[in-house]
């Protein structure tokens, strides 16, 4: 079993952190993982993305030609990565910012208004966790509780423990929306 | 005619911290005086067993040969950075960097300024003789306006090569340094003054006070094409007009 996901959006949408939390959760679940970010000026205001690979054997390439999933947080991300997703793969689309349909007919699409769902939870900054929750439900890659646990540990380690509750709610919101 | 020294007491001899090796400097070169002064102060402070000297590139490249202390030969211009590494790695050592004007004030500009700006607890001896001695008498950053060198055959033209850089004044603008002074060696009074200044620069380090810089106006009779005595006069009458002697800061 090897799964990979590209999480892409613009800087500020938290795609890098979402990937880290997913990788941490995969590791906590006993899997081998790699997390590979785009880095440098891209991260400072432009587009940002990261690739997470989860596997039950040592990960070879941390870059993937055909990811088994894509989380597209904005239109440029969908435009850039849609065609790369493996046949039968999963695409999570932020329809709040993407006004076109997914062209691929061979992918499982979860189109969600991520901005509105984040606002419902009470924080636009939690949009990445909404997306991650949706991805977890759509792919059944890991138990949601494992992701919650990884998220809580990572935020506490970064001195942001006060945001754990709202991010748990965000994960659940995304999870339940699929 | 020989007079016996039996009834006499030795009042001046070779400092114990100097090796027996003969200096490679030209006749009348002030590097020799300065080397002796430093050794004498290492003796007086009793620090030879914990001193590390940093030798530059230039005429003083052999500085490691003269002292009975540990020494490191640094690349051109980096002596202050090497001294930083030594002192940070082992703060118990007494570290001095011995640097010429090309080394300290040209190729090593960044290393020199930033070691001073960090207030490294080191002693820097900056030998300013306004010329590149070792490579054959080329223009130094401190060469005087109009000074003839092998790369300014018609004299240094500020329009082409700028002005002599008063590096110690630049260092003295910084907040961190403890002691910045300019000394000379052209007569016995200046030699005594310079000795006191260098003593203070080492003592500051011993007392953990921080960065001390002693600029020493020196002669280069060979490349100035002057007799050693004329060279001394040149420093006294001409060079000190551009590079005034005295303490620039003393926060010790």
């Amino acid at each position: 079993m090897e799964c990979s996901v590209i999480i892409a959006g613009f800087g500020g949408q938290g795609v890098i952190l979402a990937g880290k939390i997913l990788a941490q959760a995969g590791m906590d679940h006993g899997l081998e993982v790699t997390w590979l970010p785009s880095y440098g000026p891209e991260m400072r205001g432009g587009t940002a993305n990261c690739t997470v690979v989860l596997s039950d054997e040592p990960v070879g390439s941390p870059i993937v030609d055909d990811p088994s999933a894509l989380i597209a947080m904005n239109l440029p991300s969908l435009d850039k990565f849609e065609s790369t997703v493996a046949k039968g793969g999963t695409i999570v689309v932020n329809s709040s910012l993407i006004d076109r349909a997914v062209k691929r007919g061979d992918a499982q699409v979860a189109s969600l208004q991520l901005n509105e769902l984040a606002e419902k939870v009470g924080s636009m900054r939690a949009i990445n966790m909404v997306a991650l929750g949706a991805y977890v439900k759509a792919t059944k890659i890991l138990p949601l509780d494992t992701v919650k646990g990884a998220m809580a540990r990572m935020l506490k380690k970064g001195g942001k423990g006060e945001f754990v509750t709202i991010n748990e709610q965000a994960l659940e919101e995304g999870y339940n929306a699929v | 005619m020989p007079v016996s020294t039996e009834k006499m007491v030795k009042v001046f001899g070779r400092p114990a911290s100097l090796t027996e090796a003969r200096f490679t400097y030209c006749p009348g070169c002030h590097h020799g005086i300065l080397t002796r002064i430093i050794a004498q102060i290492i003796d007086e402070l009793g620090i030879v067993e914990r001193t590390v000297g940093i030798a530059p590139v230039g005429c003083a490249v052999f500085a490691y040969l003269w002292y009975r202390c540990d020494a490191i030969q640094a690349s051109h211009g980096r002596a202050s950075a090497v001294a930083t590494g030594v002192k940070r790695a082992n703060p118990n050592l007494i570290v001095f960097a011995y640097q010429g004007d090309g080394d300290f004030a040209s190729i090593g500009t960044a290393e020199s300024i930033h070691a001073a700006n960090r207030g490294e607890n080191i002693t820097v001896i900056f030998v300013n003789n306004q010329v590149y001695g070792m490579t054959g008498g080329e223009m130094a950053p401190t060469s005087l306006v109009g000074q003839k060198t092998t790369t300014t055959p018609d004299g240094r033209d500020p329009a082409l090569f700028g002005y002599p850089i008063r590096f110690s004044e630049m260092i003295a603008q910084l907040d961190a340094p403890v002691y910045v002074t300019r000394q000379a060696l052209y007569d016995t009074k200046r030699i005594v003054d310079a000795t006191k200044a260098i003593n203070k620069a080492f003592t500051n380090q011993l007392e953990g006070k921080g960065y001390s810089l002693v600029e020493v106006l020196a002669t280069c009779p060979t490349n100035w094409r002057m007799k050693p005595t004329e060279a001394n006069k040149h420093v006294a009458e001409v060079v000190t007009k551009v590079f005034p002697l005295g303490d620039l800061i003393d926060r010790g």
């Binding site: 390439s61 | 030969q73 690349s75 980096r78 082992n90």
Partner: protein
């Protein structure tokens, strides 16, 4: 071994250096190795050790030179353009027989290039980027955990052979995260004393650190001593990894990040019935000429894959020496060869 943690390559190299007893670290910021610098900035002072953000790469390597002279374990890190600036100091370290660790998280070049991962500094690292007849040991990790292990090893080899050692990784390895079990810290007090260090001439003759002698005959002797040590290193320190080479028809020769990507290709090729193996040099200098030569007798093709125009390829061809075909596939400018692209190259040579 401790807790399994998810860490970046840059952080792991930094933390491994700390655990290897690195006492002084000096560096200048540059992408993509900034996290290494930041980890050291945060952790070295807490441990009572030295961290200086130097005014330049040249100053940083010169500080390393000073600290190494005193006999402490010391390191600097940078990325390609910064490593170019450090060459003066690296040559001095080699010439003065000083142990130090230099990390190069390589990015695209030449010139300012870009900040994407590349392997275009192979020549500079393995053939002596500075002046004079010297080598340094060059270790090329392929995974984040290995980056930690090789960093620990780098300090030991540096001390053992009194030579600078380079960790040659790339931006991808520096930036990516993988689970790591960090090695236990070494006991610095148990390291052998460095009798040659400039620690103060108390009860002994002065020690002098230098790479200089104006007498050509003396300098020749100094060079011969260096060369003798290099022959010892070549005899004892060659490291490499083989994967699926037993019945391989084709071999990929690759190091670092590309080698791990190639491991995925080996699996993909196997599924297609192509007998593909991988030969991965871990020491780029000394290069594993002999083991590769022996493998070349058993395969038809050795395909070199690099993120360069073919720098390691030269060493591969020296080793293979006409025993097998030696095609090349390289990417430049920070483009990373994907598994599929490598596989299509493999297919060209499989029929």
């Amino acid at each position: 071994m401790g807790e399994r943690m998810l860490l970046r390559g840059n952080e792991v190299i930094a933390e491994a250096a700390i655990r290897a007893g690195c006492q002084c670290y000096f560096a200048y910021p540059i992408t993509p190795q900034a996290e290494l610098l930041e980890h050291m900035a945060k952790n070295m002072p807490r441990l009572g050790r030295t961290f200086i953000q130097a005014e330049s790469e040249i100053a940083a390597i010169s500080m390393v030179y000073g600290a190494a002279s005193v006999g402490v374990r010391t390191m600097t890190s940078s990325s390609s353009p910064g490593i170019s600036l450090k060459q003066e100091g690296i040559s001095y370290l080699a010439g003065s027989n000083l142990p130090a660790v230099i990390v190069n998280i390589v990015r695209g070049g030449p010139g300012l290039g870009d900040i994407a991962p590349a392997q275009c500094d192979y020549f500079q690292a393995t053939k002596g980027g500075g002046h004079g007849d010297y080598h340094m040991i060059v270790l090329a990790p392929s995974t984040v955990p290995e980056a930690g292990e090789l960093t620990m090893l780098a300090f030991d080899l540096a001390d053992q052979y009194r030579t600078p050692v380079m960790i040659l990784a790339d931006g991808m390895l520096g930036q990516m995260m993988e689970p790591v079990e960090l090695p236990e810290p070494i006991d610095v007090a148990s390291l052998p004393a460095k009798e040659w260090a400039t620690t103060g001439a108390k009860g002994r003759d002065p020690n002098v650190i230098l790479s200089f002698d104006l007498d050509p005959e003396v300098l020749k002797k100094m060079n011969l001593a260096l060369q003798k040590r290099y022959r010892q290193i070549e005899a004892k320190e060659v490291r490499y990894e083989e994967a699926a080479t037993e019945d391989a028809d084709i071999l990929i020769a690759a190091y670092g990040t590309v080698a791990r990507i190639a491991k995925s290709v080996v699996r993909m090729a196997s599924a297609e019935g192509i007998k593909l193996g991988l030969f991965r040099p871990i020491t780029l200098w000394p290069f594993p000429y002999q083991p590769l030569k022996e493998l070349a007798d058993r395969v038809k093709t050795v395909l070199t894959v690099e993120m360069s125009a073919g720098q390691m390829w030269e060493d591969v061809r020296l080793a293979v020496a006409e025993r097998a075909n030696t095609p090349f596939y390289g990417e430049m400018g920070g483009v990373v060869p994907t598994p599929r692209r490598i596989l299509s190259e493999v297919r060209k040579h499989a029929s």
